[in-house]
Amino acid sequence: MTHTLTATGNAYVSEELLTGCQAVAQGVRLADVDVIAAYPIRPYTEVMDLISKIIADGRLTAEYIIADSEHGQFEIVKHASSVGARAFAGSSGTGWLYGFEALAVTATDRLPVLFLVGNRALDDPGAFGVEHNDALAVRDLGWLLCWVTTPQEALEHVLIGYRVAEDRRVQMPMALAMDGAFLTHSQHIVRIPSVEAARKFLPPYDLGDRRLHPDNPISIAPQVNEDWVMEIRRQNWEAARRAPQVIAEAYREFDAIFGTDYASSPFFTEFMTEDAEVVLVGLGTVAAPARTAVRRLREKGERVGYVGLRWFRPFPTVPLRECLRRFQAVGVIDRDFAHGSPDDGGILLHEIRSCLYPAAERPAVVNFIIGLGGRDISIADCQRMFDLTRQAVGAAGGDGLVRWIGVRE
């Protein structure tokens, strides 16, 4: 189902009906990735099904390796990246955690590989559906971590992700997260960029003087112990602090080439928030029912809105604080869990409360644990969350409320 766009000079050449995974595969083709390591696990794995076909059909020249495990997969791309090759891998759920050791060192080695994380619940018990705990596990390790909500964004964030990750000021690995099933396997019409436009936006990967090669005989990651670890952690910290500026720059250039509009709100998107009193904030595809709920409640005259967080790492502390402090109450949607954490809330709750703490006047913040293991989040669920959030306004003890939505009790 492909047809060619007729407009001349367009940075997009065609439209195709693609799932989130298939869109990422097209992004990998357009990024001219050099090394790909595959290992199967649902739901991310569909990306490798298509990449292997793209390679088999000669549409991408790349080394394609079927690894022995996720750990092998992640170490393969880490080392491919260290010799100067652009590399791609991905995983889901417990597979992502099987390779966790490799994920830690990829960040501390500052190797800008890109991974797709098709979010999936962690076993046991077995569940194929989305939960965000898998991708969120790398949040403290020095990764770029970004959620996309449509196949179009997914494709474009392969190019944007490599561009930011490989930037000399950043050089951090990039986890491109998307909700399992709801995005990995959900089809949309996707505009496909031209190879020329993609090349124009994304320069070739150049690791410079950090590349492992006989002409550059360096030793990478020797034992440093307490003598140097703090300074090296500090360098990672500084890179993460530089990343927001690089992300904003990349979006501006992407917009200029492709006519998109990312740069006006690079780190999160706002829907009908202008005069809103109460908003929900969430990650990923919950945006769809939440926005519909906003429209329906607006029809009844309720001043509600939705904030969709795109970049989790680096966390957009100041812009998000400035955004959320305008509202009377904020309902934080967590498709994850953080058992035993403060107030027994979800991970996003803690990040957002911490982000809001320095604000002179803070909105009430409540928390919803919802949609675990891929359970559907309905429009009615979102309306209910808006109601509960509104009830927190001015209510004694309302602030800090954590509610599980859609659970049998």
């Binding site: 080394e63 022995d68 750990h71 092998g72 170490e75 393969i76 080392h79 491919a80 100067g84 006989p214």
Partner: protein
């Protein structure tokens, strides 16, 4: 399958032909008498300057490669304990992709990954297996000092039966805690990977120059290759550092560590222990780690070694026994 390009190396026939250049030099902090470090030195010397090396976690990382005092003159990178195979795959794939796309000059760059017995014989087995199944030019070297020697000498899957380690101390109720028979890793690799053209075992000091020649063969044969080296460890095996060479030689000559190469499926014994073997006691009694063994234990080890050379279908290599049944 792509036919990998070949490397051309001269065999080293005498000590006078050993290259003078060192690519693994001063700066490491390994113990006196460390044969694992000698394995490193020889692999680097044999491979030469157009080489990239990864080392998985183990004493040849922790003791070997400290920041600001690296002994590696060729490029070197740490890899994770179980990732020797994956690191070799990743580097080979990266270099091949960049050469195919014209972003790197076409040349043969040796890719070598080393791992210890814990990284290679236990945790990293599946990754090494994956690498040996590939069609990349790469070499995995398992340096085997029969313990987690950097961590304080803990038993691994490759520790000799009966040995005392910090995980297998002799006690009043149990004399022997290390009751597992050493894994036959090189044989496992040779049997399990029909397209792998080169698998060998070696000892850095015995026979002299043998390891260097095997490294060169492995790098020339085309495709993935595997070498398992026998590396006596004065600290872990509890003997005076001056005897490292002797212990290695006794291990080979007693037949407890078979020395061979498998080239395109053809087994060639470097030391043919079918024909001549010294009693394994001569090897065991020189090491403190076996001091608690009694005659009965030594007899058991001797019997197992004899069986390896007299009963195995491919002596020292593959433990299948007897004629095949008809149905």
């Amino acid at each position: 399958m792509v036919t990998p390009e070949q490397n051309q190396y001269e065999p080293i026939k005498s000590v006078h032909q050993v290259p003078l250049e060192e690519f693994y030099s001063s700066g490491h902090r390994t113990c006196q008498g460390c044969e694992s470090a000698l394995t490193m030195r020889h692999l680097a010397k044999a491979a030469g300057p157009r080489t990239v090396v990864t080392g998985s976690t183990g004493c040849m990382y922790v003791a070997n490669t400290s920041y600001m005092t690296t002994p590696w003159i060729i490029p070197w990178m740490h890899t994770q304990l179980g990732a020797a195979g994956a690191s070799a795959l990743g580097m080979s794939a990266g270099l091949r992709a960049l050469m195919r796309k014209g972003r790197l000059a076409e040349e043969r760059i040796n890719v070598i990954a080393f791992c210890g017995d814990l990284g290679g014989g236990d945790m990293g087995l599946s990754g090494i297996s994956s690498a040996l199944q590939s069609n990349y030019n790469l070499l995995i070297i398992l340096y085997d000092n029969e313990s987690a020697a950097n961590t304080d000498i803990q038993a691994t899957g490759l520790t000799t039966y009966g040995a005392q380690t910090t995980f297998t101390p002799p006690g009043s109720a149990q004399r022997i805690m290390q009751r597992r028979w050493k894994k036959n890793v090189a044989g496992m690799m040779a049997v399990g990977h029909p397209t792998c053209r080169y698998v060998a075992t070696a000892c850095a000091t015995y026979p002299p120059m043998d390891l260097m020649n095997k490294v060169r063969k492995a790098l020339s044969v085309g495709g993935p290759a595997f070498i398992h080296t026998f590396c006596p460890c004065p600290k872990g095996w509890d003997y005076h550092p001056r005897y490292s060479h002797e212990i290695g030689e006794l291990g080979v000559r007693s037949g407890i560590f078979p020395l061979y190469e498998v080239v395109e499926g053809q087994v060639r014994y470097t030391y043919d222990a079918r024909k001549r073997r010294i009693p394994v006691r001569e090897y065991l009694t020189k090491q403190g780690r076996f001091a608690h063994l009694v005659d009965e234990d030594m007899d058991h080890i001797q019997q197992m070694v004899d069986e390896m050379w007299e009963k195995w279908e491919v002596p020292g290599v593959a433990p299948f026994k007897g004629p095949l049944s008809e149905a």
